[in-house]
Amino acid sequence: MNRGRLQGEPQSQYDRPNQPWVCGHAAEGNPCPLGPNGRGVCRVPDDCSPVLVNERWTCNRSAILGGTCDQGPTPEGKCCCRREPCQPKRTLRSQRRRFIFGCFALTLGVLCIITSTQMRTTALAPGPLSANHAQLLNGAKSEEKCAACHQAGTVHFVDWMVDTVTNGGHLNESQHQRCLKCHDKSIPTEFALRPHSVAPSELDILTRLAASDSKKNPFQKVSTNQSHNISELACAQCHKEHHGAHHNLAALTDKQCQTCHLKSFDSFADDHPQFRNWPYRHGNRLRFDHMTHAGKHFSKEDKEFRCNDCHTVSESGAMLLVDGYSQCHSCHGSKIESSLASGVVFFGYPTIESSLVSQASAPKQWPKDAQFDFDGEVSDFMKLLLASDPAAHFMLRKFGPGYSLTDVDPDDPQDVETAKRLVSAMQAFSNELALQGSQAIQNRLRQLSATVNEQTIQAFSGSLDGQRWDQIRQRWFGGQPAENHRASPTSRWSANDTAFQLLYSAEGHGDPVLQAWYEILMRTTESADADVRSLSQYLFEQWSSPTAPGQCASCHDVRHKEIVWHNAKSNRTEFSKSFTRFNHQQHLIQPQLRDCRYCHQLDRSARPTSAEVSSDRHSSGFVFISKTQCSDCHTKQAASSSCTTCHRYHVDLPVGDAQRIVDIRREWNTKVLAAGDNATTR
């Protein structure tokens, strides 16, 4: 829209802002009315084009240029006011357009150069990498540096464009796949991207658990909707790279935690829930009672009960580990060895009536001196192995799993018949042992239960030599002089020629055959065969007694589904990841904390763990640590009170552990309620 002419403004015919060129005389205030052409060439126009009127040339200069001139046209009919040619100049608009084009072309050129050359690795990087990742790229070629973590680093800019247009459809490898190529050991890859790296089912259980504590727990507002909807969280969601060598990639802010844990969390002292049974909620898998040992056993031996004798600081100083069995041996070693001193009977010939030998299918295959009356026991090992033979089941059914030859009434034909079947079964097994050695034991175990693993079978069968066994029993059958015989000094199999028994001499604590025996009993109690099942359960009860050979059950909890032969804490690695972490080393700087009992106070009211035979976990015998013990130092101004000071994001929670946590919580709640009731009663 034309703005119109202002009052007093000189009239001009030269408003051509859209034209690329302007007359060179415009700056002098005297532009030519026609101006240069589109290519910037001066057209040098006359002021007028004289017209012939009545045979005279007449000036027709326009009024804008001053009207008819005084001199008038030349006699040839040409204008007398000829203008000097000018050097046309570009308009501002034209100059601006050229400048814009120049800038655009320059920028595009620079970007093309950067993108298409090796320079892009450094030029496009948003910042230096953190120290750990930078080390990974040491020695890598320039073009490989981006590609180590980004698939886009392997392709050209055109592919980036295509990927943008197709919304990620072109570059199909997710970055987390590249992250997990290196981090697959520290994070369970299956659920690495799920919240907390936990299986959805487990997280649901934990979320419901948190929600159930809605009245007390500040984390109650865990966004259940979000936890369900979040399918995957990219690594880069929390771990921000390219922030320099000293940037802490693992650092998380409280606000990041509260993206899902919606409840505002201002201070540890005020908002964090009280500790429940931390850090002893998982209990011991060994029946070790600190209180009883400190107050009774050690004082009786006149020994000092020192924590450091059993607990050693891990290499990083983060954890205190249990120093295995070595500290227990001084007291328990002799007791274990004495319980095993006479050997464990593996195979024994009980005494039977001589008439029965002649009736049996394989006469004369019974020690001569063990033929006069029904008497003697069948060893536990034998009972289980014979259970794979149906002939032995008659004895089981008639006299129960605790049967012995003493139970047989020689005047009862049925009893005699049952004993006869057992004798046949024993003779058959004895023959198998002589022919196949330990292979015979393995075959029978495989028949008994398919769930016993091969390693256990191999461990139990040991190195029994069939030929040696045949020599021993032939001597017994022939009534040769008695001798206590051992095959070789290193062999753990020996013969008692007086009692006609093949004995196993366990090596004391940690004997592999006895450990395998417990494992086998554990599996066969789940056998489909009712006879085998009842026998195994009976034997398991017998061997669960603290007085059984080896006294294994007095410390190890053999009732648990997975028998723990090694204390879990002694095997715990630095990478055992639970939601809560605690670094002892950082706390032991303070002198008063160097005494373990400052935090770990013995609970004098705790029941001895030996009484808790029905529980699969045993109390450590300590008073639970309270929140106030931590909140004095853990403030914003002092030792930090952020979530990640004590909590991990990535946890290693195997499937099933969430339910275990719920069970432990429930058990704890029950104990608290019971304690409350007792206090009220008192």
Partner: protein, 75 residues
């Protein structure tokens, strides 16, 4: 302008009127020079700004494409 003001007391009434007129004209000229200089700068800035804006748009598009390609799983 200070010199012109200091001459006032030596001038007749008619001369003072003419001096005042001079004064106003000089002041107006000064204002015009000032505006001319400032608006020149403004035009120059606009000139450069428009050119650089197009470059910036190009760089922004490039950045968006690159950020999308290197998003690292963040959507």
């Amino acid at each position: 302008m200070a010199e012109l003001s200091s001459l006032q007391r030596y001038l007749s009434n008619e001369e003072r009127r003419i001096s005042d007129q001079f004064f106003r004209l000089i002041r107006k000229k000064d204002d015009l020079d000032y505006h001319w200089a400032l608006q020149g700068k403004l035009k120059l800035w606009l000139f450069a700004h428009i050119g650089l804006t197009y470059s910036l748009v190009l760089v922004a598009i490039y950045h968006a494409v690159m950020a999308h390609a290197f998003h690292g799983g963040l959507r």
